[in-house]
Symmetry: C3
Subunit: 133 residues, 3 copies
């Protein structure tokens, strides 16, 4: 069973902390299992990553780094003009997997799960798949 979480983004490039949304969804939907959760982004101009959730400046610094290496006006073949977003999707990746114990996400102390919007604003999904030990 694939469970779908939805979120709304507000900028062209933006990291959104989805940790608490995911944590409550996993426990509520899948119950007290052991294993891991696959957090899968079904979009080609977005990504998902794990990084520090305590200081919001970390997410902004990741944005800055991506924009530095992929200036928004960079010219490519793809006629929709959002090749920067497709490249970010491949560089960062379309999924993360987080350990789960008794239905709770077992992230490291400073870690959060961030949805990476690279061609927003849009309504986006994260698809959750339970993986068992």
């Amino acid at each position: 069973m694939i469970e779908v979480l939805s979120l709304r983004t507000s900028k062209k490039l933006q990291l959104i902390d989805a940790t608490s949304m995911m944590d409550s969804a996993v426990k509520k939907i899948f119950g007290a299992y052991d294993g891991a959760i696959l957090c899968y982004v079904p979009h080609t101009t977005a990504a998902i990553t794990i990084n520090e959730a305590a200081d919001p400046d970390v997410a902004l610094d990741i944005d800055s780094f991506l924009r530095l290496h992929l200036p928004e006006g960079i010219r490519f073949r793809h006629l929709e003009g959002n090749s920067d977003a497709h490249i970010i999707s491949t560089l960062i990746g379309s999924s993360v997997i987080v350990p789960v114990e008794r239905g709770a996400l077992r992230l490291g102390r400073w870690q959060g799960v961030f949805f990476v919007e690279a061609d927003g604003p849009r309504v986006r999904n994260i698809n959750l798949v339970k993986l068992t030990s």
Copy 2:
């Protein structure tokens, strides 16, 4: 059980759409299970990624971006002269995991699975491992 798919690449750097090959292999080999499929590349100068399969220009733009940041003649320590390919392997990654329902890949509407050749042409493998919910 690990199942091995083979493909032949034709260029030094090249994204090859492996979606239909993988989709039929998963259904045929593993049957109508629910969970996910691990698509694992056992090579150190190749990678695998998920991105847009509708417009082939997207894959070419990813190539261009990689070549821009990793010019083919870039000098490194490794004497085989293919450090660019090893770096691409680590940046993009050696595996993707795709949700599966009743034996069918559940990719997003515009997504395909691409084998990333970075030191071709060669004969390459993608190793498939079923993961259950």
Copy 3:
């Protein structure tokens, strides 16, 4: 069950071959199962990757590439001054998944699993989660 492996790093930026440590741990802890092993880094200034283990120059070339694009003194918002390490964590990723047959890691011939320290030296962990087929 999450099993924790510890290792000590000795430099600011460093790839450490953790293959033999992981291989013996998986067999000893989880026994002769089939499926995959999730190797999860619970830190936000480190990463994990798969690449060539035969020639140590490959790991050094990956270091050089990262340092080239992320000079150590690069200025960002995050006041701890280690945004370079957070960015490396997101670019390379917090986990890898390796196929397992009868309790043995099924890496490709030239592959090893490398812990990527980006803000060392420190004592670090790799968390292992068994995933079954």
